[in-house]
């Protein structure tokens, strides 16, 4: 039951974020599916394999990024369409809130500790996306125009 609810609500969060960022109507559903895939993967790592949150987030965003590039290839749309709504559940909003709330209570060292954890999780998201980008450039998008544009030939 918990897993089912997680699936539903991660789908709706990405779906409605696609609305907030003015995605085309035909892509709402696909954005939701992409976001739910990444989030479910990181939840499974976090709870079934009891991984630390930083690693779970990094692998979750890796799966999310690969999914985005596959969707982009399939539907012929830019990968940003799916990445932007999908990445939001990974943003460590709760911890950032906690850090701010500790800061205004003048608990400087506790606030700084929490802030470091926020930075580590955000870095995990970034690394996951980086490797997804790399894998997609190797295996999914072999764009010839891109190679032409970046070639070192003059003229």
């Amino acid at each position: 039951m918990t897993w089912l609810l997680h699936l539903i609500f991660s789908f709706t969060s990405s779906y409605f974020f696609a609305v907030l960022f003015d995605a085309p109507r035909r892509l709402f559903f696909y954005a939701g599916v992409t976001g739910a895939t990444g989030w479910m993967f990181s939840r499974i790592l976090l709870e079934a394999f009891s991984m630390h949150e930083v690693y779970a987030t990094a692998f979750g965003s890796l799966v999310l990024g690969i999914m985005c590039h596959l969707m982009a290839r399939m539907l012929k749309e830019p990968a940003t369409m799916f990445m932007v709504p999908g990445i939001i559940p990974f943003v460590p909003g709760g911890l950032a809130y906690e850090a701010t709330s500790l800061l205004v209570q003048f608990e400087y060292s506790a606030s700084l500790n929490t802030m470091l954890e926020v930075i580590l999780i955000a870095g995990g998201v970034a690394v996951g996306l980086l490797f997804a980008d790399f894998l997609s450039k190797m295996f999914i998008h072999r764009n010839k125009n891109y190679a032409d544009a970046r070639s070192r030939k003059v003229g």
Binding site: S13, A23, I87, Y97, T100, A126, D133, A149
Partner: protein, 251 residues
């Protein structure tokens, strides 16, 4: 000779308009520059150069002509425009449409395609609040508070940022009102968790696009753009934090 010149000006017009739409809709810098390079090399100019930050576009078709500069005034997020412009540029590269048709389509995208209606987006903001209430581990009795605070807070933030051109103020006032509503709801329906309500209701105004684009630009080797976007995201995040903290001090 004049034909050639006219053609060059046409290419420049199309490329500049496409780049302008993309940047104003919040695309990442690598995408904008790649699109400009694709269009110009599809038109036969393989050695065009462009440099883009999130406030200015600089573009040179080839070494013998005038360069073009455009200053970007306003930026927001609109994925429809990015998607449509991307389609136009792909069609140009594949040779499916001429430059004149592309110009007409870009004009249409720039002037006619609008955001989704604000009430619909406010509803979506409420639904986002509900979803995050579950994902963050909130309680069932907090559901109405989270939906109301998320929807109303998003509505106010968007409305203000359409009315006034300031960076910090809309997010500050929006998150201030979200925290007030959450505290009020928490008072009426005690027993829930105030912090989780505030976190989930604040989620719709978190600068997610800016953060994602900044990360992607950093890895695309577009350092200046990534720094400026990170700074923009930081200002917004600071506004949200300050708004919430203003309420938290009095609790």
């Amino acid at each position: 000779m004049t034909d050639l010149l006219e053609n060059e000006e046409k290419i420049k017009d199309v490329v500049m308009l496409a780049a302008r739409i993309l940047l104003e809709a919040g695309a990442e810098g690598t995408r904008v520059e790649d699109t400009m390079t694709y269009i110009s090399s599809a038109c036969g100019y393989k050695s065009s150069n462009s440099f883009v930050t999130n406030t200015v576009i600089t573009y040179l078709l080839h070494n013998g002509t005038h360069p073009r500069i455009y200053r970007i005034q306003t930026r927001d997020t609109n994925l429809i425009r990015i998607s449509e412009t991307n389609r136009v540029s792909r069609h140009i590269v594949e040779g499916k449409i001429t430059l004149d048709e592309a110009w007409d389509k870009l004009i249409y995208i720039n002037e006619k395609i609008d955001d989704h209606p604000l009430p619909f987006k406010a509803f979506a903001g409420g639904m986002v609040g509900l979803s995050f209430l579950y994902l963050q581990g909130g309680l069932l009795i907090d559901v109405p508070t989270a939906i109301l605070a998320g929807g109303i807070g998003y509505f106010i933030t968007e409305y203000l940022s359409q009315k006034i051109e300031a960076q910090f103020i809309p997010e500050f006032i929006g998150s201030f009102i979200i925290a007030l509503l959450a505290a009020f709801g928490h008072m009426l329906v005690p027993g829930g968790e105030l912090s989780i309500i505030i976190i989930s209701a604040v989620m719709p105004i978190v600068p997610g696009v800016l953060i994602t684009n900044a990360i992607q630009d950093m890895f695309g080797g577009h350092m200046l753009m990534s720094i400026t976007k990170l700074l923009e995201a930081l200002v917004t995040a600071f506004g949200i934090g300050a708004g919430v903290a203003t309420v938290l001090i009095f609790l």
